[in-house]
Amino acid sequence: MYHSIVLVKQVPDTANITGNVMQEDGTVNRSKLPAVFNHEDKVALEIALQIKDTYGGTVTAITMGPPRASDILRECLYMGADRVYLISDRKFAGADTLATSYVLSEAIKKIGTFDFIFAGRQAIDGDTAQVGPQTAEKLQIPQITYVEEIRSVENGTVTAKRKIDGGFEIIRCALPVLLTVVKDTAEPRSFKAKRVMTYKGARSLMEIEKLVEGNSLLSVDALVHEYESRSLFIKTLTMDDLHLDLVRCGVHGSPTKVYKVESVVLNSGEHEHVEPTKAGIGKLIDKLMEDHILG
């Protein structure tokens, strides 16, 4: 039996970028993009669920993000996660990877013991691939990044195949461990119809607060209690719930400053026509080898 925690993130759907999404300064207008579940994080959740299917245990998904990130937590429930946590507070806003991993690691300490932490290799908005590794460091546990296959889990160890430039490595590591996975590691399962019906009404603290707004007959505490009793409360951790150092959170805790964003379009300077014949292709191969692109 293994307990897994999965780090998930809601990201702008960069696969569906349309004309008015890119702003003149080269940045993305997030409000124009639909928000989606970062695909590699979904793969991470799938791996955790497979471990649960095989060995038993639990799967807990956590995300740090704005209130609307509850959407992907519901999706985690639809896929089979046992518990989900939303870590959200205005004070966490503007966090870079350092501040994010700090808050995540503190939240994980609060959530409890685990055997595995899974995360996607990177999120498609930032592309840093740093949050997973930094979280492992802060929790002082080993990490295996770029995992493309879990070979086995036995005797308190995991054996995984990780992608490296030009090949792969097989690594065995003692639990608990953090693993980041790449997109080909597994195909995320579909939502389960019964879980969709069961959890479609799951709500986080902020969503419940919104329900209460402007309705003096409702109280947040009573509603939270009611949602909890129906197992429909998305556990929500705010600044007050975690023992955090304010200067390490959000903008204050983020040394990364974006100096400038440039929209770079690479134009090919010249082109060469290759005849679609055996001789033509032969020449192309020779040229590529000459330039050390091939071979």
């Binding site: 399962r189 579909s190 119809a193 879980r195 969709v196 479609k200």
Partner: protein, 575 residues
């Protein structure tokens, strides 16, 4: 992300239009199920929300997993090796995913692991799956088999089989057809006999059995030795792995992903379903009605896919300096297809709701009877609901299956020579469509099934009410057209009845049923046009076209063109 539910505005239109309030209230036992099951709805709106969300799951699976595999499934087909049938690898994956998503027991009760969905919603899911891969529908659409065991089996049988249908561990098959008993099921020969302890065994051969390799087989067999007709047949359930041999699988024109088996029953142990002698006359007829709806939804799914292929190709293909989409001959064909697609959908979901209503009232009557409460009011309601469902089902199957063939044919035509090539999806669709007007009762059998009720004009009062209804002023021409079609129908009917010639009646039945179908569909599409401005185009083309066809139907009947049937031998064999 593509989604075959959310991207289809017409399916969404019909979903929004559904009126399942009574049906769901009965099925959910006035929402008492919610106390026991966390996935059960707490009220009607919640139920509709559930159906919508689950259809989104179906639409996602269909678009992103099933559809991309369909070409490979068609190419790979099924295999029989050492008596074991294996599905194409894409089919295996899709079945696994459908089961993992809880979608294999949609209409089964929750206590057997199902989701207790209305039949109508299930039919919508069948259409969505068929659009992605028609052959997968043959396996996904076998959920009726579990439902038949639920309806007519005993509690022990329900507990034995249903939970495993729900999890997808079991798939089923309906073993009805035999080499000498196709449309004529009364002549089924497969023998059912009992040993001294009263246990049943099956011996004989079944042919053309879809998914005959399934784990659970429903078998129609002759339990009354010496009888010759349908009254000597009973329905049995048996385990496919226990004394049933798959002798061969057919090499078919289409639906390659679905295995069609010849089965040999070698003293196979079986259990009787329900009562002896009711096999064909009650249980199979009941099952057939629902199976025909499944095939209708399959036909519609194929039609949708064919239309999309045709539209896409017509827009991309440039000839004479412009996309062929802009050529009137082509755009007219596309409009014909689109109109057929939309009116067929109106008919399908109207009929599905009629079937749902009939089934749920049946359940209610049963429940009231058990509770010792009065149910005479519901019995009257049930009688009427049954009549309507029994009329609409064969008409739907006839119209949708013929139409799917027409649409696949036209879609291929629009592709020109390209469409004749295996590389293009439309080639597969044309082959897959071809079975829909053959199996679960040929089109000719659907005419037979509908003819009696059509000739009795059982929708007389309904049409009266429709004629009295006030429509938007702009619709007066269409309303008049429908009134004229009705008069044409009565004219033709009178002619046929007065002729008192059964041979003539058999031939004229097709025209009569078609005339009646124009009226049914015509009023449905007019109602749709009342809600949605865009549908006015659809109603206009359908109803005007129907009037032209109606005149031709009547002309065929009255012109004496069929009188040469008496000379068939001379014409056909020169004798």
């Amino acid at each position: 992300m593509q989604n075959f539910f959310l991207d289809n505005s017409d399916v969404l239109f019909h979903f929004k239009k559904l009126d399942l309030r009574d049906i769901v209230a009965i099925a959910e036992n006035d929402y008492a199920e919610a106390k026991e099951f966390p996935d059960a709805p707490v009220n009607y709106d919640d139920a509709m929300e559930n159906y919508k969300k689950v259809l989104e799951v179906v639409g996602d699976l269909a678009a992103n997993r099933v559809a991309p595999r369909a070409a490979a499934v068609d190419h790979e087909g099924v295999m029989l090796q050492n008596g074991t049938v294996s599905y194409a690898s894409g089919t295996q994956k899709s079945l696994h995913e459908l089961a993992q998503a809880d979608l294999m027991g949609m209409i089964l009760p929750r206590k057997y692991g199902g989701m207790n969905f209305p039949f109508t919603i299930y039919i919508m899911a069948v259409e969505i799956i068929a659009r992605a891969d028609a052959s997968l529908m043959n396996l996904f659409g076998l959920q009726d088999i579990g439902d038949t065991i639920r309806k007519f089996g005993n509690e022990q049988q329900r507990q034995e089989f249903l939970p495993k249908f729900s999890t997808g561990e079991y798939t089923g098959a309906m073993a009805l057809t035999e080499p000498d008993a196709g449309s004529d099921l009364q002549s089924v020969k497969l023998q059912a006999y009992q040993n001294q302890d009263g246990a049943w065994f099956l011996r004989g051969v079944k042919r053309f059995i879809t998914n005959g390799n399934g784990e659970v087989l429903l078998v129609l067999a002759r339990s009354e030795a010496g009888t010759k007709d349908g009254r000597g047949l009973s329905l049995f359930v048996c385990n496919g792995s226990d004394g049933v041999k798959v002798r061969r699988i057919e090499n078919k024109l289409g639906i390659h992903g679905s295995p069609t088996c010849e089965l040999q029953f070698n003293d196979t142990p079986a259990q009787l379903i329900g009562s002896r002698k009711f096999g064909l006359i009650k249980y199979v007829l009941d099952l057939m009605y629902r199976a025909r709806m499944g095939v209708s939804a399959q036909a519609l799914g194929i039609s949708q896919a064919a239309y999309e292929e045709a539209l896409r190709y017509a827009r991309d293909r440039v000839q004479f300096g412009k996309a062929i989409y802009a050529l009137p001959a082509v755009s007219n064909m596309l409009i014909e297809m689109r109109v057929a697609l939309e009116v067929n959908r109106s008919l399908l979901y109207y009929t599905a709701q009629a079937v749902d209503r009939k089934e749920k009232i049946e359940e209610l009557v049963e429940k009231l009877r058990e509770e010792g409460k009065p149910f005479s009011e519901q019995t009257v309601e049930l009688k009427q609901a049954t009549k309507i469902a029994n009329l609409l089902t064969p008409i739907t199957k006839y119209v949708l299956a013929e139409s799917a063939n027409r649409m696949a044919y036209d879609a291929l035509q629009i592709h020109g020579g390209t469409g004749y090539m295996k590389e293009f999806r439309v080639e597969r669709l044309a082959r897959d469509a071809r079975i829909t007007n053959i199996y679960e009762g040929t089109s000719q059998m659907q005419i037979v099934a509908a003819a009696g009720t059509v000739m009795n004009d059982i929708l007389h009062d309904y049409f009266d009410a429709k004629e009295a209804q006030t429509y938007r002023s702009g619709f007066s021409r269409l309303v008049e057209c429908l009134k004229e079609i009705r008069l044409l129908f009565y004219d033709a009917l009178k002619y046929v009845v007065e002729k008192k010639d059964t041979t003539f009646q058999d031939i004229a039945a097709k025209d009569l049923v078609e005339l009646y179908s124009y009226l049914i569909i015509g009023y449905l599409i007019l109602d749709d046009a009342e809600i949605d401005q865009r549908k006015v185009f659809i109603a206009n083309r359908y109803i005007l076209g129907a009037l032209a066809k109606a005149r031709s139907n009547v002309e065929s009947i009255k012109s004496g063109v069929f009188s040469d049937i008496l000379h068939a031998d001379k014409i056909l064999c020169g004798q």
